[in-house]
């Protein structure tokens, strides 16, 4: 049986009817057309589907949409301020932190979430915060450099 739930996604309220067996990742992609949330493994192993749920990055493939009822969700589409990229996004662009880009939405959300809690992370803290987001292209170095650079810009 479908449930009517309310999702607050990127500061916008959505009322959706969902069956309990649908994941948040599915509902974001299929019902809300927020396709920036990627599905890489669907088992919580890769982090491509990362969204921020009540201020914490989570694998949206392991959250039921009904569990997210009335909760606050930020997807990659909600990170930029209109045409202005978030400092983390800007740094990813400038530092070559994006190759195939499939991990980038999740990576950016994990990084953003880190910098909101810890504005001056050490390299280890950055790497740890990103350790649930797999990237096969970059070797992580330019991603880490980008997060460091973003933390500098955000301090200013």
């Amino acid at each position: 049986m479908k449930r009517i739930i309310t999702l607050n996604v990127n500061e916008k309220e959505y009322e959706v009817a969902v069956a309990p067996n649908r994941t948040l990742a599915q509902v974001l992609r299929e019902d809300l057309n927020l396709l920036g949330t990627k599905i890489g493994c669907d088992m919580g192993d890769c982090g491509a589907c990362t969204v921020i749920l009540d201020d914490r990055p989570v694998n949206s493939c392991l959250v039921l949409a009904v569990q997210a009822n009335e909760r606050k969700i930020t997807t990659i589409e909600g990170v930029a301020d209109g045409p202005h990229l978030h400092p983390v996004q800007q740094a990813f662009v400038e530092h070559g932190a994006i190759q195939c880009g499939f991990c980038s939405p999740g990576m950016i959300l994990s990084a953003k979430s880190l910098l909101e809690k810890n504005s001056k992370p050490t390299e280890y803290e950055i790497r740890e915060a990103l350790s649930g987001n797999l990237c096969r292209c970059t070797g992580y170095q330019k991603i880490v450099e980008a997060v460091k650079a973003a933390s500098q810009t955000m301090k200013k």
């Binding site: 920036g36 990627k38 669907d42 088992m43 994006i98 190759q99 970059t138 070797g139 992580y140």
Partner: protein, 783 residues
């Protein structure tokens, strides 16, 4: 040193903004009106005869629009190389591995499609399972393919020089064995496709592929369609690394289902299906015998290689050649003998993965060279330098090193890593190792025999002259070819980066063999450069006629026309342009004539302004059988130093530091080059320490997840001291050549050599798990 406006700078990638904001679209993000969802029935058994298939219950399920098996799909054989077409869309008589495709369903949603799959009834007669390639090649065992009674899919025997004679001159000869494990590409985006056969008889296949051209040809052949009626296009692709470089079953099945239903059909692999489809790195068993002189000169190499091919050929016939040919360089080696065997087994087919065929051979040999250096009392880095080929040298198997910055690479990593201070001086548990490698800059020949161009490019100017559309079928799969080709087009014409819009990865845009064998910077780059220069020349010729100024007295830079001598009066031209474009936001301003205005003049004269470019390599030498695998217009090369810490009580290896120098000829975009280098090293670290597809005794993959198939996390990769070497390749556009694969070559052996330095243990089986190393250290202690 020539100055460049666009190339050789660190411009952000053209697709970076879209990818940073979530706007970038990958295949599974797309949908079409009236679209059906497909699902596959795959074999639960590794080897069995199909006695019967009953699809009647599946067909009756409400919402199911079509169910197809070999009966409906036909039995046209396909594969990668025409020499070994051994696959059909669906299994006919037999299934050959767990995951082999038997049927496909198209239904109104995925849930219905999956339910229908569960309603298909198949009766099997189980057959003996062959999982070990050495068992598979024994006399009298069952043949996985009837045409190959000993299960030998391909064998190669090559000899250059005379190895046995050469060994007689050697002062020191040693033999070592080495084995890796079957690996996975582990790109983060699973394969996905949407096929739509329209009422005009055109099939459009949107798919996550590295090679739109090869997929187009395969689909056309299997479906019996004219090639021109099949359009294959790729949106953003989330990594490929080899396994996405050939047509797969979902592409074929979706296309057939769409033809039959008249509706678009989408199929996407689950992660488990990605592992089952595989087509990634083979398992190799190498036995290498190397002979040297006392002074360390390499004299001869005998290389015997057995490969576990899995159930089908895939890229394997090329792989089995590469397993030998890629040891021909980077050292001067006058004698080389190679015997390679690729066996069929009842496992997912193995194919190509970054560093195709050469990575494991390289790991084996570079470790052996380290042993030899130690036996001879030489510094391993110095021994490598001593044997290093130079620019212009040709290998015994006819590879010409038209540029070769290998000495510079070695010197750079020696100095960049502090090698001299560290080698032999680190405490127990800490180690440093070195290795070298090289790779082709594009296969010299297409995978099918043809005189085809390898790359074509077309550049079309917009009527206002302000936008330059670049059309190429080259595939950006994340490595950044869209960016590189955009930069090249802008440089060749003389316009700004942002003036060029790249349209790529579509068979409608031309011919390009695609993203494999590290070919696009060189090959697609040549075509784009040529097309850009063509446009530039056309515009300048028109200007020349208008202003009566010789072409050679003009140039285009940063979107402006440079008059080397006297600047003509172009005020009439400008006021006409502005008048025509009244109300537009971007009237040309400033003291210089803009390219935009010049292009407008060209448009008035020509109507369509199109620049054309096409490339195929010239004669690459090598007349022996198999010379087509490994000959290339250019070779990239790299050297690495790795430092490790080994926990002597657990065997756990930590990679502390990596120094990598890669000769890419000329850096079109240094940021992209570094990204390729660092990414290659990361894959190498995974393969060295963690990665292994494991099977149970029934042939089932027991770790088909990214949890149990371990690629490095951000906490497993160190930063890499990344050094770019430029050697100015004469056969490359602006001197550029490969970087995408050569950089993985030295990684594994450099790690192995560092582990030896730390522990005194030689590991000759990958991956070096803590358990494997611990066990070897214990054995060593007992000795």
């Amino acid at each position: 040193m020539k100055e460049f406006a666009i190339i050789n700078t660190r411009l952000p990638k053209v697709d970076a903004w879209a990818k940073a904001t979530g706007d970038a679209r990958y295949t599974d993000d797309l949908s079409m009106p009236n679209m059906l969802y497909g699902a596959l029935l795959q074999s639960p058994l590794a080897h069995a005869r199909i006695k019967s298939i009953d699809i009647s219950r599946a067909k009756r399920l409400p919402g199911v629009k079509d169910v197809i098996t070999a009966k409906e799909a036909g039995l046209i054989k396909y594969g990668v190389s025409p020499a070994r077409y051994d696959e059909t869309v669906f299994c006919d008589q037999k299934v050959r591995y767990i995951g082999d495709e038997i049927a496909a369903v198209a239904a109104i949603d995925l849930e219905t499609a999956l339910e229908a799959v569960s309603l298909i009834e198949v009766e099997y007669e189980e057959l003996p399972i062959l999982l070990d390639p050495f068992e598979a090649m024994k006399e009298g065992v069952i043949a996985i393919h009837d045409e190959f009674p000993n299960n030998i899919c391909a064998e190669v025997h090559q000899e250059f020089g005379n190895v046995e004679e050469a060994f007689k001159e050697c002062d020191y000869i040693r033999t070592d064995k080495f084995v890796n494990k079957k690996q996975d590409g582990a790109f983060i985006e699973p394969q996905s496709c949407i096929a739509f056969y329209d009422l005009n008889g055109n099939l459009t296949l949107t798919t996550s592929t590295q090679t739109v051209h090869y997929v187009q040809r395969t689909v056309a052949m299997v479906l019996g369609l004219p090639v021109g009626k099949v359009r294959v296009t790729k949106p953003c692709v989330g990594g490929g690394f080899g396994p996405k470089a050939s047509a797969n079953t979902i592409e074929l099945a979706s296309s057939i289902l769409s033809m039959r239903t008249g509706r678009p059909v989408k199929m996407t692999f689950t992660r488990e299906q990605v592992f089952q489809h595989s087509r990634a790195r083979h398992q190799f068993w190498h036995e290498l015998t190397t002979g040297v002189k006392k002074d360390g000169s390499l004299i001869a190499l005998k290389n015997t290689c057995h490969m576990d091919g899995g159930a089908y050929s895939s890229f394997g016939i090329a792989t089995v050649y590469y397993g030998g040919s890629l040891l021909g360089a980077p050292y001067k080696l006058p004698n080389m003998k190679y015997d390679g065997y690729r066996m069929y087994t009842n496992k997912p087919a193995n194919g190509a993965q970054r560093g195709h065929g050469g990575v494991v051979a390289r790991a084996a040999w570079e470790q052996q060279l380290d042993v030899i250096a130690e036996e001879l009392g030489m510094d391993p880095l110095e021994m490598r330098l001593k044997n290093m080929m130079k620019r212009g040298d040709t290998t015994c198997n006819d590879f010409n090193m038209s540029s070769f910055g290998m000495e510079e690479c070695l010197e750079a990593i020696r100095d960049g890593s502090g090698w001299k201070k560290k080698k032999g001086k680190l405490p127990k548990g800490k180690g440093i190792g070195v290795a070298c490698g090289f790779f082709v800059s594009g296969a010299g020949f297409p995978i099918y025999r043809s005189e085809t161009f390898h790359s074509t490019a077309m550049i079309k100017l917009s009527e206002d002259g302000g936008t330059i559309n670049l059309y190429t079928a080259a595939a950006d799969i994340g490595q950044g070819s869209d960016t590189i080709l955009t930069m090249m087009a802008a440089e060749a014409i003389g316009v700004r980066y942002e003036d060029v819009r790249v349209l790529s990865g579509d068979t409608d845009f031309g011919v390009d063999l695609g993203a494999y064998s590290s070919r696009q910077t060189l090959m697609s780059g040549h075509a784009v450069k040529q097309a850009g220069e063509d446009v530039r020349d056309q515009v300048l010729e028109v200007l020349s006629r208008n202003f009566k100024i010789p072409v050679e007295d003009m140039d285009i830079k940063k979107g402006l026309i440079i008059f080397k001598k006297k600047k003509p009066d172009f005020s009439v031209l400008r006021s006409t342009y502005i008048k025509e474009h009244r109300g537009w936001v971007d009237p040309p301003v400033g003291d210089e004539l803009t390219f935009k205005e010049a292009a407008r003049v060209a448009y008035f004269e020509k109507g369509v302004v199109v620049g054309r470019g096409s490339y195929k390599p010239g004669d690459l030498g090598g007349k022996y059988k198999g010379a087509a695998v490994g000959t290339s217009p250019a070779y990239g090369c790299s050297a690495q130093v790795v430092e490790v810490t080994v926990d002597m009580e657990t065997g756990k290896v930590t990679i502390d530091d990596m120094t990598d120098a890669h000769d890419c000829g000329f850096a079109i975009n240094p940021t992209n080059i570094e990204g390729q280098m660092q990414g290659s090293l990361s894959m190498g670290v995974g393969e060295a320490l963690f990665e292994e597809i494991k099977f149970d005794d029934k042939g089932r993959v027991v770790n088909p997840t990214l949890g149990e198939y371990r690629i490095p996390t951000a906490l497993d990769m160190p930063n890499v001291n990344t050094i770019i070497i430029e050697s100015n390749e004469p056969n490359g556009p602006w001197g550029a050549k490969e970087v995408g694969e050569g950089a993985i070559m030295p990684t594994i052996p450099a790690i192995l050599n560092a582990i030896y330095d730390a522990t005194g243990v030689r590991v000759r089986e990958l991956p070096v798990t803590s358990e494997r190393l611990f066990t070897l250290m214990k054995e060593q202690e007992k000795k």
